[in-house]
């Protein structure tokens, strides 16, 4: 039994890694070699493709822009979602169920639907081509998800803890920041992971709301397609570099992801 399990798991992991290996393989090759003969590893190893990216500000600033608005989005999302999730998990109030479902409906809205209105809205308030515009736009789908996940974690904390703290004379803000937030650390970790994930991978809105100053890396990558064909080598190198931040984030939350999901009602 255990043997078939291991074989199955190994097969799946190979299936996951093979395309990424191929991308990595391509990124160390010259274009002549890529288009020439198919080879399983670079015949003439080169870092040229990475040099192109790291020596040109319009390339590497794409990464900086992307990371900047993703972090901004994480901060905004957590800042508004934490109190809201607390309210949903601890109190009943007028329209609470409707509000919760309405929030979730925004997670269901296809970005393509909001493309044009977003463009007009952010242009009219002077936020077009800023990082904050992308961060706010991504809140559309990240905030509902964050409230949903955090609410599950918070409901797992017994309400007696809140009451004891209030009896001991804690004010709401002090209780919330000193006692409650540390209690749901792993929940916040999981939420941050999801925010990062959905904001980092999104392209459609990010590309529409930016032109030069806040241009995300995903939009910069389209430059490799020119009249003379596709620059496969540089495209692969840029792709490899977009995977790196993701791997770093996974590495940091690796202990929380499994434990965290299980703790919350999620």
């Amino acid at each position: 039994m255990s043997k078939t399990k291991n074989i199955g798991m190994s097969a799946y992991i190979i299936f996951l890694l093979l395309p990424i290996y191929w991308l990595l393989n391509m990124s160390f090759k010259h274009n002549d070699e890529i288009l020439g003969k198919l080879s399983f590893w670079p015949q003439s190893f080169t870092l040229h493709n990475y040099q192109v990216i790291f020596s040109d500000p319009s390339w590497y600033m794409g990464y900086v822009n992307s990371i900047y608005y993703v972090l901004l989005n994480m901060v905004i999302t957590l800042a508004v979602a934490l109190p809201a999730a607390y309210a949903f998990s601890r109190f009943r109030f007028m329209g609470d169920k409707h509000l919760f479902f309405w929030l979730l409906t925004n997670r269901m809205a296809p970005p393509a639907v909001f493309l044009l209105p977003f463009f007009q809205l952010y242009s009219s308030v002077g936020l077009f081509d800023t990082h904050i515009a992308v961060a706010l736009a991504h809140c559309l789908f990240n905030v509902p998800l964050a409230v949903w996940i955090l609410e599950g974690f918070m409901s797992g904390v017994p309400r007696e803890i809140d009451e004891t703290a209030y009896i001991d004379g804690y004010s709401f803000t002090r209780f919330f920041t000193r006692i409650f937030i540390p209690l749901i650390r792993s929940g916040i970790g999981v939420t941050a992971f999801f925010c990062f994930m959905f904001s980092w991978v999104e392209l459609l809105l990010a590309r529409t709301l930016t032109s030069v100053n806040a241009k995300p890396i995903a939009a910069v990558m389209t430059r490799t397609v020119s009249a003379s064909g596709i620059d496969w080598g540089v495209l692969s190198a840029a792709g490899v570099l977009t995977i790196v931040p993701g791997i770093l984030v996974v590495w940091f939350v690796r202990n929380h992801v499994a434990k965290g999901f299980a703790l919350g009602r999620v």
């Binding site: 039994m1 291991n6 199955g8 798991m9 799946y12 992991i13 996951l16 093979l18 191929w22 391509m26 198919l38 508004v80 109190p83 809201a84 309210a87 601890r90 109190f91 009943r92 109030f93 007028m94 929030l103 925004n106 269901m108 809205a109 296809p110 970005p111 393509a112 639907v113 909001f114 044009l116 209105p117 977003f118 809205l121 809140c139 905030v143 409230v147 309400r159 980092w200 991978v201 999104e202 392209l203 459609l204 995903a218 990558m221 495209l235 692969s236 792709g239 995977i243 993701g246 791997i247 996974v250 690796r254 992801v257 499994a258 434990k259 965290g260 999901f261 299980a262 009602r265 999620v266």
Partner: protein, 287 residues
């Protein structure tokens, strides 16, 4: 114990409400506005009522891409949910293998959508890609850029590669939450492997599966970037899904009115189906 009723809680929800209202209600109202007017320029616009809706509902492009979309989302759910559960069951539970497989599983989730398209473009091309090359040298005539069946297969495989991990990770954490005592009881009862899965693991996975099914359904129903990069919607229109048809209409041709009507219908379809999934999967809890 019932939660206390207090409308002061609204103060805590207010920031979320304002933020989401700014980025959801205003744009949504704008779309509704488009969908009932014929707009020539900023000053010349006519109220046309439901004309765009009637036009769009008879539009063959919408109907075709809606059918394709349903086929695609159905296939995605039919493959990824069972596969995700299977992977979660196969995952090592302790030691270095468990951490390593967690990390490998999470990697595809954090690849930007257009890079997913690029990876598969490079991987599946018949001339430079390992996958396309391997299939062709095995004697399969495979070319995703020319053959609609191959294109479909590639887009589907790409989505499975990309998102099955999400289902697997959710299920994995659900499985970890089952106390050992349950398995011990099953062993005493000499329960078969299948019975353990059917009566212990599956019921415990229900809440995570609900999230998995909902997220996968919503996201596969809005898929845009990956097929756009991989196939450009082709060959022909064979992999053009709803979002791409809509974007083409709104930005390519600037038919804002019909595109607005299209958006509203699109949104309502997702809303309706998600609600349906939600009620079907939570129905037993209420009893």
């Amino acid at each position: 114990m019932l939660k206390p009723y207090t409308n002061k809680a609204w103060f805590l929800v207010l920031p979320v409400f304002l933020l989401v209202a700014f980025s959801a209600i205003i744009p949504l109202m704008t779309v509704v506005n488009y969908s009932i007017q014929d707009i020539f320029d900023i000053n010349t616009r006519y109220f046309v009522g439901t004309e765009w809706y009637r036009e769009i509902l008879n539009d063959q492009r919408l109907i075709d891409s809606l059918v394709r979309q349903f086929l695609f989302s159905g296939a995605v759910l039919a493959i990824e949910i069972p596969l995700g559960i299977a992977v979660a069951l196969m995952m090592p539970t302790r030691g270095i293998g468990s951490v390593a497989s967690l990390i490998v599983l999470a990697v595809p989730l954090l690849v930007p959508l257009n890079v997913v398209g690029t990876i598969w473009q490079i991987f599946a091309r018949a001339d430079i890609g390992l996958f396309g090359w391997a299939l062709n040298s095995l004697g399969v005539d495979y070319n995703y850029a020319a053959n609609p069946v191959d294109a479909w297969f590639t887009v589907l495989l790409m989505d499975v590669w990309h998102w099955t991990s999400l289902v697997a990770l959710l299920c994995y954490s659900g499985l970890r939450a089952i106390p050992d005592a349950y398995y011990q009881a099953a062993r005493i009862d000499r329960a078969s492997r299948w019975a353990v899965f059917r009566y212990i693991q599956l019921p415990k996975l229900k809440s995570v599966l609900l999230i998995g099914v909902l997220l996968r359904f919503m996201d596969s129903f809005m898929i845009y970037t990956e097929p756009f990069v991989l196939t450009g919607g082709g060959p022909g229109n064979s992999t053009t899904f709803l979002s791409q048809t809509l974007t083409k209409m709104a930005i390519g041709q600037f038919d804002i009115g019909p595109a607005g009507a299209f958006s509203i219908i699109y949104f309502l379809v997702i809303l309706l189906l998600s609600w349906l999934f939600y009620t079907l999967m939570t129905r037993n809890d209420a009893k």
